[in-house]
Structures are given as C-alpha cells and as structure tokens.
C-alpha cells in the first residue's frame, strides 16, 4: 500500500483554512534543514493580505520562504506559499504556474487545485497534509494524491480548531493517516529528512 512506501519525497503540500495558522507554524518550525523535498503551503486568506504570512513563516525556519510568482522554479529545501487570489499549479516538475480563474469551493487559492496538480505532476512521491478548516476544499485534492499513490495525512478533527475540513477528507476516504495536531510536526519532519 502506498502509505508504507519509503523513499524520496519530492513535495510536501499542506492545505488549511480557518484554524490552520497555528498547526502550519508548528509544522514549518519543525522542518529539517536538510530535505530533498519542496514544501508548498496553501491556506485560505484575504486578497491583498500581503507579506504578513510569509514573514510569520520565515521567523520559524531557516529554510527560504517565498510567495510564488508565475513560472518560479520548484526548488527543494524551499517553502513556497500560494499567493492570495491566484490558484497555484505545478506546470510540470520544474515550474509553478498561477491561474486567476474562478474560485473553487469559494476559494482562490483553492487547495483542491494545488493538490490535484501535485498529484498529476509528482504522483506517488507527494505528501499531502490537510489541516483545520470550515470548508470542503482540499478533500477531493487529497483523494487525488492518495489515488496517485502519494502519502496523505489529515489533522485529527478532534484536535482541529475547526473540524469540518479534515472530517470531509476522512469521509471521502482520502486520509491515509489521521494524526493528532501535536504529532504532525515530528511525523512530517521524519518523512522529509534526507535519507542517508
């Protein structure tokens, strides 16, 4: 089964909405400095909310943090943030692409869009994580990652500030593992650490 596969993890994609800031900061704070994965974060936020979030993240890690611009290269050991008001896609394994089309699940960026695109571009080497939120966005995308053989982790709804989003993913059968909020950072750090 995909969930037991060990090997190179090329991308970690993390999605969250209401109540996800805290777990996102904890996850980022625990990321290993030596990783061969690119880390991509998609959280719902207001258009024009600017650089506040990237500054918060950068304060937690020594890895470079960047809000993505069109056709930016996908780099390992970097943390990429979906910009407000654009969907974030992988054009292929090397480049990001942005898209300002209709909102999906009332959201732009939509977590589903990025997750589905990650599954299409990177297949079984993706690690997908879905956190707290009040919206169904992300569940279908997480299922796409799981179907492509990737590893999917969902924040235990009982430990989420807003249980709805992770619960939707579980109901859809998209959750490979359901993980307590406090255990997520260490679990992901272990997955991403460079294999000796």
């Amino acid at each position: 089964m995909a969930q037991t596969t060990v090997g190179i993890r090329t991308v970690l994609v993390v999605g969250g909405s209401a109540g996800s800031l805290d777990p996102v900061l904890q996850i980022v704070g625990a990321l290993p400095a030596d990783t061969d994965a690119a880390i991509v974060i998609v959280v719902h936020r207001k258009a024009g909310s600017d650089s506040i979030l990237s500054n918060l993240l950068a304060a937690k890690t020594s890895l470079p943090v960047k809000e993505v611009e069109d056709k930016d290269p996908v780099l390992t050991g970097h943390i990429f943030l979906a910009p407000p008001d654009y969907h974030l896609l992988f054009e292929n394994r090397n480049y990001f692409a942005l898209d300002a089309s209709e909102k999906i699940n009332y959201s732009r960026p939509s977590i589903d869009v990025t997750f589905e695109s990650a599954a299409a571009a990177f297949g079984s080497t993706v690690v997908g994580v879905l956190l707290s939120g009040a919206n169904a966005d992300g569940a279908e995308g997480l299922a796409a990652i799981r179907n492509a053989g990737g590893l999917t982790l969902v924040q235990d709804p009982a430990t989420a500030e807003v249980y709805y989003m992770p619960q939707q993913a579980i109901l859809l059968g998209a959750a490979g593992q359901v993980v307590h909020k406090d255990q997520l950072p260490a679990r992901l750090a272990a997955l991403l650490r460079r294999q000796p």
């Binding site: 069109d70 896609l89 292929n92 898209d99 089309s101 695109s117 796409a144």
Partner: protein, 274 residues
C-alpha cells in the same frame, strides 16, 4: 473536479484542430491551467466525451466562440490591485504629461475594466484629451463589451472602494449612469478608446506606445510563448516607455530584462532604457 477526464493526446489533437481549422494557436499555453479549463468546459457543458467536444467545436461556429471565450480566463476588475494604479498616478502620469500626445496599449484587456480605470486616471490628471487608449483582446465578444462601456451595477461598490484605495478623490459614481442593473460609463471616457481584436500569439506589433499594460495574460502562456510575446511588447514600446505586468508576473526570466529598469518592483512596472 477530476483533472483527467481528457487525456494528453486528446488535448494535442484538439489544439492541432483549433490551429488547422481556425488559426487559433493554444499550443504554447501553460498546459496545467489549459487542461483544467478544458475539463471545466466539458463538465459545465455536460459533454460526456472528448469526441463530443471536438465534434461541436468543428461543426458549430457559435460553440467555437463560446469555447475560446471559456478556455481563456477573463476575470478582471476596475482598479485591480489598487496600489498599482496609485503608483501610476504618482510616478507615471507626471512623465506622460510632458508628452504632446499619449498612446497606451492594453494588451489582453478582457472586458475593459482596466482600460476604463486608466481613462479615469488620465481624465483626473487632465491628460485624457491628448491620449489614445488601444484596447485589444483575442476574444471578439470581449472587444464589443469594451466598446459599450456597460458593466454590471453590482460591482460598483467594490470598484468604488478600489478607486479610493488607488488614491481617487472624487465621487466614483460620477463616471457612470445607473440603468437598472447596469452601469453605463460616460462617453467622455469612451471617446478616446480604440478597440480591436488582436492575438498576441499570431498578430504583430501595430504601433509604438509610451505605455503598455499586459496584465494577467502571460501567466496563461508557457515560457516559450511568454518570451515571444514579451519581444512583441518590447518592439511596441518606445524608449523610456512604461511596461505594466500582473502583480505575480515577472520580467526577470526574459531576454528583454536588461533593457528595462524596475520602476516599482512590487507593482510590476518597468521603464524601458534609452
């Protein structure tokens, strides 16, 4: 949405058909986004298979138009990214004011909200009388919309807020007349517009401008096509002219970059060197 209803070979076949039959060249559009668009059209139009989609495109001219309008993304608004317009008002207009005659090109203007925003800035700076704004888009029906100057009334509250955030000091509602659910923009603003269809992929440069807007169009192109279009824009811009891209677009990967100075890096405004 299942991202894989349409297979990669089918996309190739569709793009080849659109090019052969109608001269629309989407082959160098960014593929991830294009695939999403095509999937979305099939779902919204309830087309069960690729064969059905292809048949409709080949046999129904009205459907072809609809397809082209839907496959390209036309989302836009007035004073989109207000701070960009604030910068233009503060730093670009004083330079344009020194020219006897001002020519501006809005490439990929969609329904024209961007063009009307610029016309308002020019009017408020007393420059509109000596300006011409060329508004072009690939989609013919967009172009008709621009000409009409009619926009949905329900957006006016948002646009008025954007206008204020962009440094507007007047009453925004003076620029339009409300007619039921429509806002009809004043003929003063419309008088200086030249509206036409123009395909950035296949049409050439048609004039020289002091300022070019090409915002949120390049993101839908792959890197090869972006470069080709940036060359076209470069060929259409006078020395010391201003180039405005979308706020998540960048010149830095392009061969034309050394010929430009960043005027406002965050706002994605560059000035062409001498």
């Amino acid at each position: 949405m299942d991202p894989n209803i349409i297979r990669e070979e089918e996309i190739e076949q569709l793009l080849a058909g659109l090019l052969d039959l109608y001269g629309y060249d989407f082959t160098n559009y960014a593929r991830a986004s294009l695939r999403r668009r095509i999937n979305r059209i099939m779902i919204v139009d309830k087309l069960p298979s690729f064969a059905e989609l292809f048949y409709k495109i080949k046999s129904d001219p009205a459907y072809l138009k609809h397809f082209v309008a839907e496959v390209t993304v036309n989302v836009t608004e007035m004073f989109r990214d207000p701070q960009v317009y604030a910068t233009i008002r503060r730093e670009v207009l004083p330079v344009l004011a020194t020219y006897p005659f001002i020519r501006i090109w809005h490439a990929g203007c969609a329904t024209g909200e961007e063009v009307y925003s610029m016309a308002i800035l020019l009017e408020e700076s007393g420059l509109l009388h000596k300006s011409l704004l060329y508004a072009t888009d690939l989609n013919h029906n967009m172009v008709e919309q621009v000409r009409s100057g009619i926009f949905p009334m329900r957006h006016m509250k948002q646009y008025s807020e954007n206008y204020i955030a962009a440094g507007g000091k007047q009453d925004f509602s003076q620029y339009y007349t409300a007619k039921y659910d429509r806002a009809v923009f004043s003929s003063t603003l419309r008088k200086k517009l030249i509206v036409a269809t123009h395909n950035l992929v296949s049409d050439s440069s048609f004039n020289e401008f002091q300022m070019i807007f090409c915002r949120n169009v390049l993101i839908y192109f792959d890197k090869t096509l972006q470069e080709k279009v940036l060359q076209l824009l470069d060929n259409s811009l006078e020395q010391r002219g201003f180039l405005v891209l979308g706020t998540k677009e960048n010149l830095r990967f392009s061969a034309i970059a050394p010929g430009y100075l960043p005027l406002a890096p965050k706002d994605k405004i560059w000035r062409k060197r001498q």
